[in-house]
Amino acid sequence: MLDVALVSLIQDMSEKAGVEGTIQYWARVGESLAKRMGKEAYMGWPSFNVALREGRTAFSIEGSVMALTDLAITDVDGDVVGYIYALETCVFNPTTVRIRYSVGELPRADRAVADEYNNSVRDTAVCNFCVIHQRFREEVSKNISIADQQLDCIQLAARGFTGETKIAEDSMRKIGINPEYVRSLLRNYACVYAIMMKGARLKGEEEE
């Protein structure tokens, strides 16, 4: 119920504080959620991926996340510095359905917040809630270390409720993943992102 109530408030908030104000609120919520969940440390990528599969990492709060271990990210020396991860169901999808069957339709502010985020921050949002959980992932990765190295999270692609997609092609080039491959992942998954060692020297970056 809280989810539907919150969405009904977005319109009101956006009218009072502007869509930029809503984005700021949502970004703060994402940061605060990550901060409150605390730090994690893993011996190596296998232990992190097992923790993810078992729902023990902070990332797991979003739902079922698959580590696509066939899609390793390597640095200039060919060492594995990260992987691609895919969220099965968009966090906001159930709420969208619940709104459809209780209220009727999403408030206009949902689209307005996503559009403003895409114009002013990063072109990766398919709905207003992307602002919270994309920021959440960025902040969470700062609190997790693998082999004593801090992580970084990069948003790659998302598919919204109506089938609209957002593909961050520049980010994919940096990590050396073909955008068409990630696009095909969206047939099965709602959101695709990379988790990797912070500061890793990537092939794609060297080429730039």
């Binding site: 109530a5 159930p94 209780s102 009727g104």
Partner: protein, 209 residues
């Protein structure tokens, strides 16, 4: 026609992702950091009222028709919770709709922030003294605002909370001076109430003038 064929299927919404609920709790905590318990209370009331106002109005020709819609989850007042009518004027919520979010919060983040009970104390002292925490404020405000959108035989529906029990067992029962009147309207005794509270989350009275 066999009786089973006449029974309509109960309408239930799919479960939400608890991350959205947890994020909502943190949003409210952020508001409280800046505006204190009273500011948070304003947001909670506004959140619940605006939700009810965004839902369609309802008209019923008979009380029985309303009760059937209530129990089947077809009425806006029972859209988010499983409700059963113990008597024609007493409804119970079997499970608090905020439980999942709270469980995910306590599992992933830790103890529920104290502000959620502080705001309830504020609400109890200023408005109606029957809430345990911030979630009850949303729930009870929504229910009252939803009741304002329902008419039965042309008369507006009224409702009032008699008692609530939170997941940790904390109970809040209407004040002693109100309780006999509410129980009489609900057609239950105080013993009935205690029995109902063992395995239900909320007990409320519904009536028209």
């Amino acid at each position: 026609m066999p009786e089973d064929n006449n029974q309509r299927a109960k309408v239930t919404l799919i479960d939400d992702n608890p991350l959205v609920d947890v994020a909502a709790c943190l949003f409210l905590e952020d508001i409280a950091d800046k505006q204190g318990a009273s500011g948070m209370n304003n947001y909670l009331v506004s959140l619940a009222t605006s939700l009810a106002k965004s839902m369609p109005e309802e008209e019923y020709d008979t009380w029985d028709e309303f009760i059937e819609a209530l129990e089947n989850g077809e009425s806006i007042i029972s859209a988010f919770e499983e409700v059963m009518a113990i008597t024609p004027n007493c409804a119970v919520t079997k499970k608090c709709p905020f439980t999942r979010g709270w469980q995910e919060y306590t599992k992933r983040i830790g103890e529920f922030s104290k502000i959620h009970t502080d705001v309830a104390e504020y609400y109890n002292s200023v408005y109606k003294p029957c809430v345990i925490n911030s979630m009850c404020i949303i729930h009870q405000t929504f229910r009252n605002a939803a009741a304002d959108r329902i008419t039965i035989k042309g008369k507006p529906l009224k409702c009032a909370n008699i008692a609530a029990v939170w997941e940790d067992g904390t109970r809040k029962i209407a004040p002693d001076e109100w309780l006999p009147i509410l129980l009489e309207k609900a057609q239950i005794t105080s013993t009935d109430l205690n029995m109902i509270l063992r395995n239900n989350a909320d007990v409320w009275v519904i009536y028209t003038d």
